[in-house]
Amino acid sequence: MRSVYVVLRREYLYRVRNRWFIIGTFALPAFFVGFIAITAIAEGRRANRDREIPIVDQTNVLYDLVAGRLDSGFEPERVAATAEALEEVAGRAREGSISGYLVLDDETLASGRATFHGKTAPRALSRIRMQQAVVRSALEVRLRAAGSGAEVEDLLSGGAIDFETVSDEAPEEGAREAGVAAGFAAAMILYFVILLYGAMVMRSVLEEKTSRVVEVVLSSLRPWELMLGKILGVGAVGLTQIAIWALTAALGLTVGLPFLIAFRPELANVRELLQYLPAVGGLVLFLAFFILGYLLFSSLYAAVAAMCSTMEEAQQTQLPVTMLVVLPIFFISSIMEDPNSTLSTVLSLVPFFSPILMLPRYLGGAPLWQAGLSLVLIAVTTVGVAWVAGRIYRVGILMQGKRPTLPELWRWVKEA
């Protein structure tokens, strides 16, 4: 076991000290954070300008109703319907201190049409919100004039389609939406890291083989010690990187998000979505699927590298393995569409697909026992795959020359 640790330690330190690891680990989140911060600040500036909305009410009855409905995200300002006031507000729009102003007139009361005066058209989202506020206010005025009173209040607030589950398992709707989003994200991240670190194991094994240093190392180590140490070492690098990224994300959510919301109040509901994120359970499952999925695929990648002698050869040979990692990504949409369909369930229980498909399903509402079952299935498969891969590795790593054919490979596995 000491030998495994020595190999692990070398692999880990060598990779963690590598310039590209440091750049990849810290630059990537920094890039994202920087990107978000810059757009948030730019957006914040613009949003500030967009929020201020002078309203010229020529009907004298609409302003309060419209302003009340524009409460969040806008700062309505009453402008008297005089020629001077109009001139003044038009001037502000021209010089750009406001993006424009809204004029309500009799036509608004009659048909719900109002006019926005500005240099450029308002953004789609603002336009829809203004439109809703104006139409509902006009409706309210007309209904009250016709004698209907408070009883239509609720209708005017916009209505909703509520959801009530008929199943015992499905989570509440907000959670489901958050689950779908988190599921997609989890699948993409798992896909990315498994591929990234699997390929890293492949490169590392191949490097040792092509430089022939493996002959020196294997005069003192058993092949399985070298293979295991390497896989664990690269895996530890992966966990380190994920931990740093997760920490950055947590920092972003606790510190960065309030900062972001300060600039863009309309993003406030992101925070509400966050509460649905299955924080601890989701993270534990994420790590479990990463670790098992990584072990499963990295042993395959190690075997691929051991049977090849050049990088080009390895690039071709790895294709079937990489396909196994990529394939689930094609199913991810249909799985998120209906996490509990038979197809989704079956696909996500296939051990080679589980690492990527099961977590999104769980986040999308699949029962926990299925996640547990898939972990057991992956673990069992990993033991089998590692046994075969270990034998291929043992024979292949010291063999130079032609890549083995399938029958030869089979002989390696039997004879090793």
Binding site: S3, V6, V7, R10, Y14, E208, S211, R212, V213, V214, E215, V216, V217, L218, S219, S220, L221, R222, L398
Partner: protein, 319 residues
């Protein structure tokens, strides 16, 4: 018989497809000796060493090492320098040696201390913190050699240890090998440089085309071939030198060395020479060099270019 052996090969054969790389090889290497495995390129030296190291498995025959479980012995008590020099190119020199020392069972501190001492001794003290890829080929080879001996093995197996080194560093390495020998380490090395082997070895095994040609102590081999090589200096045509008793003729000592076939009669040559009218100024039995012994027993074509500079041979005159 095997108990005093550091390495004992019993009828070892290795085939690669149709090609037999090593055929029915018996080799007995006593503990504590310096043993040379000699032969031209492609004769099976590296394959033999790789089988001793367990990198290849013999198709037939057995390998035993220091009388113990070969796998265990290899991992802890053997230092192996492969023919193809592999290093972790991107690792720093000292860290690399630390790692290689550690996997051979040294504590990290110990490995670091020994690596430092060796690097200083071999003039690489200033390169400890440099990446291996920044070193010259010769320096890398020294680093590899350190890695081979850092755990003070009982048995050193060196595949062409001197190739690629300049004469000064070859001498440095030879001195170190002798030093290990004095401390009782058994040393087996392969080379195609006969002269080198002659300086260093107590025992040799000559192989050619996958087969052993002969083996034994250097002294015995030379004694056995005492009447096998004649140094000749003469003026005139050279045709008379050729004959059925001659295995090969090579330029040496300002004249030629005539290598006799097994049991060849040197007087027959002399008679031919006198009859041809050549002016013979020297005709003398000399102690054969290792190279000459090899040529006598394996034939010139079997030896190939084993360790001789091109102009050493006498192509035109002989053919």
């Amino acid at each position: 018989m095997t108990s005093d052996a550091a390495i004992h090969l019993e009828g070892v054969t290795k085939r690669f497809g149709e090609h037999t790389a090593v055929h029915d090889l018996h080799m007995h290497i006593p503990r504590g000796c310096i043993y040379g495995l000699l032969g031209p390129n492609g004769s099976g030296k590296t394959t033999t060493l790789r089988m001793i190291m367990g990198i290849l498995h013999p198709d037939e025959g057995t390998v035993s090492l220091l009388g113990g479980d070969p796998d265990e012995v290899r991992r802890r008590r053997v230092g192996y320098l492969p023919e193809e020099r592999g290093v972790y190119r991107k690792m720093k020199v000292l860290e690399q040696l630390e790692f290689l020392g550690e996997i051979r069972g040294l504590e990290r501190k110990d490995a670091a201390r020994r690596a430092g001492e060796w690097l200083d001794r071999l003039g690489l003290g200033d390169w400890k913190a440099k990446k291996v890829e920044d070193l010259s080929k010769g320096m890398q080879q020294k680093v590899q050699f350190i890695a081979t001996v850092i755990h003070e093995p009982d048995l050193l197996i060196l595949d062409e240890p001197f190739s690629g080194l300049d004469p000064i560093n070859q001498d440095v390495l030879e001195d170190i090998v002798r030093e290990f020998h004095r401390h009782g380490t058994t040393i087996l090395f392969s080379t195609h440089l006969m002269a080198q082997a002659e300086q260093l070895c107590e025992r040799v095994c000559l192989i050619s085309k996958a087969e052993k040609v002969l083996d034994g102590t250097l002294k015995d081999l030379k004694a056995r071939d005492r009447e096998g090589v004649v140094a000749v200096t003469f003026d005139g045509p050279a045709r008379w030198l050729e004959g059925p008793e001659v295995a090969a003729i090579e330029r040496a000592d300002g004249g030629v060395h005539v290598l006799l076939q097994e049991g060849g009669d040197h007087q027959a040559i002399l008679r031919r020479g006198v009859a041809s009218g050549a002016v013979i100024t020297r005709f003398e039995l000399v102690e054969p060099s290792l190279h000459e012994i090899f040529v006598r027993h394996a034939g010139e074509e079997a030896v190939g270019d084993a360790g001789l500079p091109q102009d050493y041979r006498m192509e035109e005159e002989v053919s």
